[in-house]
């Protein structure tokens, strides 16, 4: 039973599919990796076998002992006074929001006996519409982070809040003497009307105090760009649902960020506009491959510096006044010609977008083209900048003030400048120099450590607060759990700074909304809490781009260095959230580390491979980290990812990766120049892309409208089987995953982790191929390494009707339900792993260790009580969220009616921002899933295996035009 991978190239008629560059070079290490069911077994030398068996013997003995359960006579604690409407054992749902970059991400929190266990987008909210991203899904684990600051401290010694209050009293007296001339406030972006009101009140009390804004992920840069382009700071809102053509320049609008969910939803709506062909076209010019670029039907690879020239060339092709045609390479000219052709007829139906690294120059031409094509107000809407505070100073100004000795008090609220500040500003040292400094944050982090006082902040899920979503709709945040540490909300601490004693947690927020709601306050307040938002998005404004604006010329240098926030831990604030650390990052599938992404050409020049260390030098500053050869990256562009290299994140996030902030220049935070040198050391990166490989070909398929048309009327042949057809109950559960809509965002994987108590195993175990995710987003490439096409393919358990795993299990631990669900019974499993070796889709996961957190860890509170927490030695896998199926059965059976279509929603389906996953009853011909199974793009993964899977796919659309050009 030797497993082979090379037969795919002979057997397939389509283009060769590859998952990683190791495969292209036919690396013998990879071959060995693939031949082993679980790679780590390989690393055991033969002499270790005896030792291994001995250990196994010992664990069998122990396993016997754990079988003896402790006495079942445990304590039962009823309520003293049971709350009205509380049904013991059933969750309750509350509308609130969590925050990302100061923006509200409106959620519905599932709360079991007073503890939130799961967050999902608020289905009524115009931005989330019930959909999520990875940060929203993981916020609940951040709440239970054992490394959060639990009590206020001074120089690291615990104090109590009355000490803080009296110290603030003294500070206020000092400030009053010179009207706050020596006070500085440093904060991250916020959209909270209450906090902005409190900051104004603070400014009024101490008129000479100055406020500085510190943003890590581009709010300031975005404001600078829009101020230069439109003459005022505005927020751009893409109406992707209205677009026929989108042209992007280094803008990952479907990538992570506060508006990912909104953009992804609009994108998928446009994409599905027609049943028989793709609904829109995407032209992307990009230096570093992004999720958005992976979906483009015409992708141009160009260095980050080329963007202004490219967009000007396109402007000239579209007849924008003042645009001159620069010199272009052949590929560039072709791309521009095709993009211009596609846009010409589309007045008000196209959209041009540019990213932060393109700077003012790119944004200026993009705005002018949008103006020329009548996109303003149609596909591109503007609002006044939502996040505040306004009229703020910069970080550099603050540092020079501190160094000049002008600052005696510094208040840092909800940001971590000692870590996220550009290295050259030496913020940590500057903060330490301030006589009295206050850090208000979730953790005693790098900044909290440097400050005199550290005041622990309540998590959004424990707070009364308010914030606005990206469209300007406000949400009033209500606590869904009472704080279990000695923490206060930002509003309480600010009220203390304003001179109040022991402010209540909701007074400030009520005050703000009392002004807003007027007489009907109580009614509207209750309504807003119930709905999770206050009706009314920000009004749109119409501002034409400035005609005479010019951009500063860029400098030329060795390599373009681009900075990007990390796709899973963002700017570093989520570093201590294990769920996010273990999510394979989009495109690289690296976990637990960041990388220095380079092009295949540059890697060849350096003779470097994945994991080799390299030193990046920008100006006088240097860092070193592991390299990643990114297929499809522009030759002379290097990407650095923010968020790693933390030292005070906690036990999960410390000491991972490299700290890109160290080399980030203050003046050019998104695109700069630098050089790269390969070092002799290397890292073994925890990468998942080559794990759980399937045998076969044509995993992720593409079809053109013509192919679909030709194939219609030829139903696929039902493969013969020696087994009798599985008798079906009334409901037959099945799933369809639309590859055309998948943007590889990982929201489904994060949601599955949260719903099904999937453990975090750590970097070493991931290296050993033992990650436990029940759902993987496989990433495939086709074509040349320099210019590949990329595919995302979510692969959960297929729930095969003729499931090989069920035939393999010696103890019937995996069986089939009458509804077609492949069931896994943990208590029967003896851990032979035969099922996994029989599984052609490689979706089964084995608990090599007891991955549960220590008994006293607060993270246990995040567990879903409706799902077993698995122990060591058992197999597990996707269950189609059976707890949700059974809950729907109970609800329907109690009312004596059938389950309605859409009543059972799996966690992955619920989270997916593009509705790429559809689940339901395939026996019901009117259900959505049954309808999709009749679609022309429908195909079965590894159909030749004859497993008759219930999870099937819709192929990605390919443009007919592209195909003809390709030939």
């Amino acid at each position: 039973m030797k497993r082979r991978i090379d037969h795919q190239s002979q057997a397939t008629a389509g283009p060769r599919v590859w998952a990683g560059i190791e495969e292209l070079s036919d690396d013998p290490r990879l071959r060995a990796l693939i031949e082993a069911e679980y790679p780590a077994v390989l690393e055991l030398p033969t002499t270790a076998r005896r030792q291994f068996l001995k250990l196994m013997g010992a664990s069998f003995a122990l396993a016997g002992l754990t079988g003896c359960e402790k006495s079942s006579f445990v304590a039962a604690l009823p309520y003293v006074d049971q709350p009205a409407n509380e049904t013991i054992g059933l969750p309750r749902y509350y509308a609130t929001a969590v925050l990302l970059d100061g923006y509200a991400q409106p959620v519905i929190s599932t709360t079991h006996a007073g503890r939130p266990t799961k967050l999902d987008g608020n289905p009524d909210h115009p931005v989330t519409r019930g959909r999520s991203d990875v940060f929203m899904q993981s916020a609940v684990l951040q709440l239970y982070d054992p490394d959060r600051a639990a009590a206020p401290s001074r120089h690291g010694e615990p104090v109590n809040w009355s000490d803080v209050e009296s110290a603030m009293g003294t500070m206020r007296e000092n400030w009053r003497a010179d009207q706050g001339d020596r006070v500085r406030l440093l904060l991250g972006p916020t959209t909270s009307p209450t906090l902005l009101r409190q900051i104004d009140a603070f400014r009024k009390q101490f008129p000479k105090a100055r406020v500085h804004l510190h943003t890590t992920t581009g709010l300031e840069a975005g404001r600078q760009i829009t101020t230069a382009v439109y003459g005022q700071a505005v927020d751009l809102h893409y109406e992707l649902a209205n677009c026929d053509v989108v042209v992007g320049f280094d803008e990952d609008f479907l990538g992570p960020g506060p508006d990912q969910v909104r953009n992804a939803f609009g994108w998928s709506q446009a994409r599905r506009r027609f049943g028989d062909r793709p609904g829109n076209l995407l032209f992307m010019a990009e230096s570093v491959p992004s999720a958005t670029g992976a979906l483009a039907h015409q992708r141009l690879i160009a260095d980050a510096r080329r963007m202004p020239a490219l967009v000007e060339a396109l402007a000239s092709a579209l007849g924008v006044a003042g645009a001159t045609k620069p010199e272009l390479a052949e590929a560039e000219a072709g791309w521009i010609e095709r993009a211009a052709d596609a846009c010409k007829e589309k007045i008000g139906r196209s959209l041009f977008v540019s990213g932060l690294s393109g700077g003012i120059a790119t944004a200026l031409w993009v705005a002018r083209i949008n103006q020329q094509l009548g996109n303003g107000g149609e596909t591109l809407k503007l609002t006044a900048s939502l996040a505040g505070p306004s009229e703020t100073g910069t970080l550099a100004a603050l540092v020079s003030d501190i160094n000049a000795g002008h600052v005696t008090s510094l208040i840092v609220l909800d940001c971590n400048p000692a870590y996220t500040g550009p290295g050259e500003l030496e913020l940590g040292a500057a903060i330490a120099r301030v006589r009295s400094s206050l850090h208000i944050g979730l953790q005693r982090d790098e900044t909290g450590e440097k400050c005199e006082w550290q005041l622990p902040l309540a998590h959004a899920l424990e707070s009364w607060s308010d914030a606005k979503a990206v469209d300007g709709t406000a949400t009033i945040l209500q606590p869904v759990i009472s704080p279990f540490y000695d923490v206060k909300t930002a509003h309480q601490i600010f009220a203390m700074l304003l001179g109040e004693t022991d402010p209540s947690s909701d007074a400030a927020v009520r005050e703000t909304w009392r002004q807003n709601f007027g007489d009907a306050f109580e009614v509207r307040w209750r309504q807003a809490l119930h709905d999770g938002f206050v009706e009314g998005a920000a009004p749109f404004v119409t501002v034409p781009p400035a005609a005479d604006a010019t951009a500063p010329p860029g400098t030329a240098g060795d390599l373009d260095i681009v900075f990007q926030p990390d796709p899973t831990i963002w700017d570093g604030r989520f570093a201590n959230v294990g769920w996010l650390q273990e999510l394979p990052k989009t495109l690289t599938t690296v976990t637990w580390s960041n990388v220095i992404a380079v092009s295949p050409a540059l890697a060849k020049r350096l003779a470097a491979a994945n994991g080799d260390h390299a030193e990046v030098a920008i100006g006088k500053r240097r860092i070193n980290g592991p390299l990643w050869v990114m297929p499809g990256q522009a030759d002379n562009t290097v990407a650095l990812y923010l968020g790693y290299g933390r030292t005070r994140a906690g036990r999960v996030g410390d000491g991972l990766g490299y700290d890109a902030y160290q080399v980030r220049p203050d003046a050019e935070p998104w695109l700069t120049q630098g050089s790269l040198r390969k070092l002799d050391t290397r890292d073994d990166l925890p990468v998942t892309q080559l794990h759980h490989r399937m045998e076969g070909f044509d995993f992720a398929r593409e079809v053109s409208p013509t192919q679909v048309k030709e194939a219609s009327g030829h139903p696929s042949i039902d493969q013969a089987s020696l087994y009798a057809k599985w008798p079906s109950a009334k409901n037959a559960w099945g799933m369809v995953i639309d590859l055309d809509s998948c943007i590889g965002c990982n929201a489904c994987v994060a949601a599955c982790t949260a719903e099904n108590n999937v453990p975090v195993v750590g970097a070493d175990q991931v290296r050993a191929g033992r990650e436990m995710h029940w759902l993987r987003i496989a990433r495939y490439y086709t074509g040349d390494i320099a210019e590949p096409r990329s595919f995302f393919e979510p692969v959960p358990c297929m729930h095969c009707e003729d499931a090989p795993c069920e035939m393999g299990c010696p103890v019937h631990a995996t069986t089939h339900s009458p509804e077609g669900v492949n069931q896994m019974v943990y208590n029967r499993c003896i851990g032979t792993r035969t099922c996994s070796s029989y599984c052609p889709y490689k979706v089964r996961r084995f608990n090599f260790y007891d991955y549960r957190a220590p008994a006293d860890s607060p993270t246990h509170a995040a567990h879903n009580p409706d799902v077993t927490v698995r122990s060591r030695g058992v197999m597990e896998k996707c269950t189609y969220c059976t707890q949700r199926i059974e809950a729907a059965h109970v609800a329907a059976d109690k009312e004596n009616r059938p389950i309605r279509d859409g009543e059972v929603v799996t966690a992955c389906q619920q989270a997916c921002p593009t509705k790429a996953i559809v689940f339901g009853d395939v026996n019901d011909p009117t259900s959505e899933v049954a309808r999709l199974k009749r679609d022309g793009r429908h195909y079965v993964l590894l159909e030749e295996q004859g497993t008759r899977p219930r999870t099937t796919y819709l192929a990605r659309w390919r443009e007919d035009e592209t195909e003809s050009r390709r030939r």
Binding site: S71, V74, A75, V80, T87, P818, D893
Partner: protein
């Protein structure tokens, strides 16, 4: 040699019987144990002699997975009026005064990997007594039936003869008639019981 074989076989057979017997013994299934409770609460008195309906205290039982133990407030609806000074009820009054729960010891407990729901069983015609026994005759509460998998699955395989009409759910004295199967099948048909689907693993284990 033959003696040896017979001896060996009977030893093996005997051990199997012993192990199975031990696993099903009252010691292992913890039936008939009356654990110490903070208040010696008598179901015989409350449910049997006074005839208080089960759902007066276990009010959650028709709505959710758990029957629920009554909150202290429920005890005090009566005991603020009668026996309001009884020494025996001191823990109840203390619970109310200090706002701390009464620490009962659970009697009917299923393993963590069993996801049982009271509401659906009651809705489909399973009586309280079917699993909990003659609670109305228990001075101190104990587990009357061994909650083994066999106990559950016997009924899941063949629910019909054990079903009763809705007005008999809390009736402790209800006994199946000679015609139980026929009556049960009528109830099952009316309630839409999914015969054959109730024995698959995910119904109870997740």
């Amino acid at each position: 040699m033959r003696l040896f074989l017979i001896g060996g076989l009977s030893l093996v057979g005997g051990s199997v019987v012993a192990v199975v017997g031990f696993a099903r013994s009252a010691y292992m299934t913890e039936t008939d144990i009356r654990p110490q409770q903070p208040v010696p609460f008598s179901h015989r008195h409350h449910a049997g002699e006074l005839g208080i309906d089960c759902r007066y205290c276990h009010s959650n039982v028709e709505m959710g997975p758990r029957a629920g133990l009554p909150p202290t407030e429920t005890c005090m609806t009566c005991h603020s009026e009668i026996w309001s000074n009884a020494a025996m009820l001191e823990p109840v009054r203390e619970s109310l005064a200090r706002n701390t729960p009464i620490q009962w010891t659970r009697v009917a407990k299923l393993p963590d990997y069993v996801f049982f729901r009271h509401d659906i069983h009651i809705a489909k015609g399973v009586g309280c007594e079917s699993c909990h026994g003659r609670i109305d005759q228990m001075a101190l509460t104990y587990r009357a039936k061994a909650f083994t998998m066999e106990f559950c699955i016997d009924c899941h395989r063949d629910p019909a003869p054990r079903l009763r009409l809705p007005d008999h759910i809390t009736d402790m004295a209800w006994r199946p008639t000679a015609n139980a199967r026929k009556e049960g099948e009528a109830i099952a048909a009316h309630e839409g019981i999914r015969f054959g689907e109730l024995t698959h693993c995910y119904v109870c284990h997740r």
